[in-house]
């Protein structure tokens, strides 16, 4: 075939340009470590990459939500543990009052101890969660859930005005506070504290009244049984919180595993295999050098150099 000079020069130039382009692409793959740089590089890979990024982003958010859940559940556990402590103290006071060896003034001081415990219980009922909301208020957690209605309820006989006079009022609700832990999954992080604490408070009221009245039979009978029932209820609630804390940990482990898997899959889709990329780079480099050498030799060859004069 007849080769014209124009075509010859064009071919050299095009070959060099093509090799240079491949060389630059191979170099970019090695330097960036990425296989997917623009949408055209791999449209199917793009879909996979975007889907996996979306899944990973959600999983990371669920992990953050679990942090919230953990801190709220932790606060619940601590508060319930304190409530249990208050009830246990009250139980022991009632037990000492009921065994009949103590006299009237002792019973009065015991009643004041119970009153202190009641005030402590009320405080615990109004504990705030780390999120800044009241723990035992259900969803209505912006306002103090427990308060005393001083207009009614048992007033101490004998005229000694105790600071805890009045009946307990619960203004929260019993709706669960939810945390999203996965697609379609939500975990309640609240304890239905309204009935639990109100009932315990009223039972302490009974103990205090019976101490003041010297009704030792009720004190040693129903009162002890009922306070024991409240303590059991608190323990049940704590167990439920504990099992939910465990769920949070398990869920977090699962999510972390999922995030790790997705990160690995993403890197498979988006990133180059470095050893392969370096190999390609070497091949491209050699091809580029060859194209340059051939062009340099070819440009030099001309009949003109062989014609004398």
């Amino acid at each position: 075939m007849r080769i014209s000079s124009g075509y010859q020069f064009d071919t050299y130039a095009r070959n060099v340009a093509q090799s240079e382009q491949r060389y630059a692409e191979a170099q970019r793959a090695v330097v960036t470590g990425r296989r997917l740089n623009s949408l055209r590089d791999d449209p199917f890979g793009t879909t996979r990459s975007l889907t996996m990024r979306s899944l990973r982003s959600a999983a990371e958010q669920y992990t953050k939500n679990l942090d919230t859940a953990k801190s709220v559940l932790g606060a619940n556990d601590a508060a319930l543990s304190d409530v249990y402590g208050v009830l246990r103290d009250a139980y022991q006071v009632a037990l000492r009052g009921a065994n009949g060896t103590s006299d009237q003034p002792t019973h009065q001081s015991m009643a004041r101890q119970i009153a202190d415990l009641q005030r402590r219980l009320l405080e615990l009922g109004n504990t705030k969660a780390p999120t800044g909301n009241y723990l035992f208020a259900g969803q209505d957690s912006a306002d103090k859930p427990f308060s005393l209605d001083l207009s009614d309820g048992p007033t101490p006989p004998g005229g000694t005005a105790l600071p805890t006079g009045g009946s307990i009022v619960y203004s929260g609700d019993s709706l669960p506070v939810l945390v999203e832990t996965g697609p379609g999954e939500a975990l309640s992080v609240s304890v239905d504290g309204g009935p639990l604490i109100s009932q315990a408070y009223r039972r302490l009221d009974q103990i205090r009244l019976h101490l003041e009245n010297g009704d030792l039979a009720s004190l040693g009978g129903d009162d002890l049984r009922e306070i024991q029932a409240s303590m059991d209820a608190v323990n049940t609630a704590r167990a439920s919180v504990g099992s939910r804390l465990q769920q949070v940990e398990e869920r977090r482990t699962t999510l972390q595993k999922r995030i790790d898997d997705l990160t690995k899959d993403l890197s498979d889709v988006e990133e180059v295999d470095l050893s392969e990329a370096i190999q390609r780079f070497k091949v491209a480099e050699t091809a580029y050098q060859a194209a340059l050498t051939v062009a340099a030799q070819g440009f030099k060859l001309s009949l003109m150099d062989f014609i004398q004069g």
């Binding site: 990024r53 939500n65 957690s141 001309s302």
Partner: protein, 458 residues
């Protein structure tokens, strides 16, 4: 009986002819870099013989003359090249336009609509899990604003590119008209020179080049006539007839790929012009998908959000999250209320601090396949759009590459026939130089002979 100076005549004609040969070689070398130039070759032919009676009749040669100067060219290759140029022009234009679209969608760099969608639903999930938290609420507002901005600015980038394409279509019309009138002008010159019996090689080359350039802009067919002129048609429209060129209709409709002027309609099938139409249509398609995405976000998010009650005092209900009117991606933004204050974001149906029901429902939209999106989730729908753009770019650039490869093949053949080879021309130069030297030597021999003859009588 030939004259005594017959030999001198032969030598003189040879000198003249070889000098013309050398001239043509020089012309070829001078045009080695001229686009569209076809190498020329001198066709030598013997002059008419004399009849010599010398014991019978003999034909006596009288030397050489230049028969013609020919353009070495293959008309079939020209036609094929013109067709491929049309396809290449179309795909090249489409590919370069779509490459720019690719730059608008930066999801693989971690900053596109897909990331904004993720952040948006993540923020709702966070708020659902901590409904009274001011920072979370702020995050939802920010994520919503950024999502709306991403979709809107992608739409606007496509819009301004479409306007630019329209401008380029107008420019292409200008180029087409300019080339048509150049072809028409060359037609007239070629016709007058052909009428005088000459072959205007260089004018033919220039006209061929103009036809090639024209076919890159719009698909054409050409017909050659006896008088040397060509007529150029695109579809049913006559761009150049034997007398004049006609301006191409300026009214265009990319959706039908047609140009029109009055009742006349031109189908545009190939060339850069078709590439611009294709790009325009592709961009419109992407815009429609962004519209669908924005409108579905509006309807789905607003429907849920409007049932919520804010935690403000007094609480408000029935608020929209995204603005409702007008429709489409172009004005997509937060609603005026949510824009004004993050407190207008409802997390639940009761307005209570711990009620994250609405936020939870909105967070769960993330995984819901929606009929308005063909059963896809928001992220899935968008990922499909991104993949579609990727596929379109890839397809167009692959097609362009393969047409370029075909064009290279044709060019190789064309250059092989028509291209100037400097080595060839060097050889020709030597040949004509040597021939000239030989003819000159011959002349001096005849001269010597004539001198000897005259000296005889001295």
């Amino acid at each position: 009986m030939p004259s005594a100076f017959h030999g001198i005549d032969i030598a003189a004609r040879a000198l003249r002819s070889f000098q013309r040969g050398l001239d043509v070689t020089g012309h070829n070398i001078a045009n080695v870099n001229t686009p569209g130039y076809s190498r020329q070759a001198v066709d030598f032919k013997p002059t008419d013989p004399l009849t010599l009676y010398l014991g019978g009749s003999h034909a006596l040669g009288t030397g050489v003359t230049v028969g013609s100067v020919n353009r070495i060219r293959d008309a079939f290759l020209e036609g094929r090249r013109s067709a491929v140029m049309g396809d290449l022009g179309r795909m090249d234009t489409l590919s370069s336009q779509l490459s720019r679209v690719e730059g608008v969608f930066t999801d693989l760099q971690g900053s596109g609509i897909s990331q904004a969608l993720n952040a948006f639903f993540d923020a709702w999930s966070g708020l659902a899990s901590n409904p009274s938290n001011i920072a979370m609420r702020f995050q939802v507002q920010t994520a919503g604003r950024s999502l709306a901005l991403q979709i809107r600015s992608a739409y606007l980038a496509l819009q301004s590119q479409k306007q630019e394409i329209s401008g380029q279509i107008q420019q292409t019309f200008g180029t087409i008209d300019q080339l048509s009138s150049e072809i028409s002008r060359l037609n007239a010159e070629i016709r007058s020179q052909t009428a005088l019996g000459a072959t205007p090689n260089d004018l033919l080359d220039r006209r061929d080049l103009a036809i090639q350039k024209l076919s890159e802009q719009i698909g054409i067919v050409t017909y050659r006539f006896e008088d040397g002129t060509v007529q150029v048609y695109s579809g049913q429209f006559t761009l150049v007839d034997s007398l004049q060129s006609h301006p191409i209709p300026r009214t265009f409709d990319p959706s039908t790929n047609q140009l029109s002027s009055g009742t006349q309609v031109v189908d545009v099938r190939t060339g850069a012009l078709r590439g611009y139409f294709d790009s325009y249509n592709k961009l419109t398609g992407y815009q429609e998908q962004l519209d669908t995405l924005a409108d579905t976000l509006r309807s789905e998010v607003n429907a849920i959000h409007a049932t919520g009650v804010t935690q403000e005092n007094p609480p408000r209900t029935g608020l929209l999250f995204f603005n409702d009117t007008p429709n489409g991606a172009i004005d997509f933004d937060l609603s005026a209320e949510v824009q004004a204050s993050q407190e207008a974001i409802a997390t639940g149906t009761t307005g209570k601090a711990g009620d994250g029901g609405i936020a939870l429902e909105l967070s769960r939209l993330r995984d819901r396949g929606l009929p308005a999106l063909g059963g896809w989730t928001f992220s899935g729908y968008y990922a499909n759009l991104a993949a579609e753009i990727g596929r379109d770019v890839r397809h167009a650039s692959n097609e362009a590459d393969s047409f370029r490869a075909v064009l290279d093949q044709i060019d190789l053949q064309r250059q092989s026939i028509s291209g100037v080879s400097l080595d060839d021309e060097m050889a020709n130069m030597l040949r004509f130089q040597r021939s000239y030297q030989a003819a000159a030597r011959m002349l001096s021999v005849f001269n010597q002979m004539t001198e000897d003859l005259i000296d005889m009588f001295r």
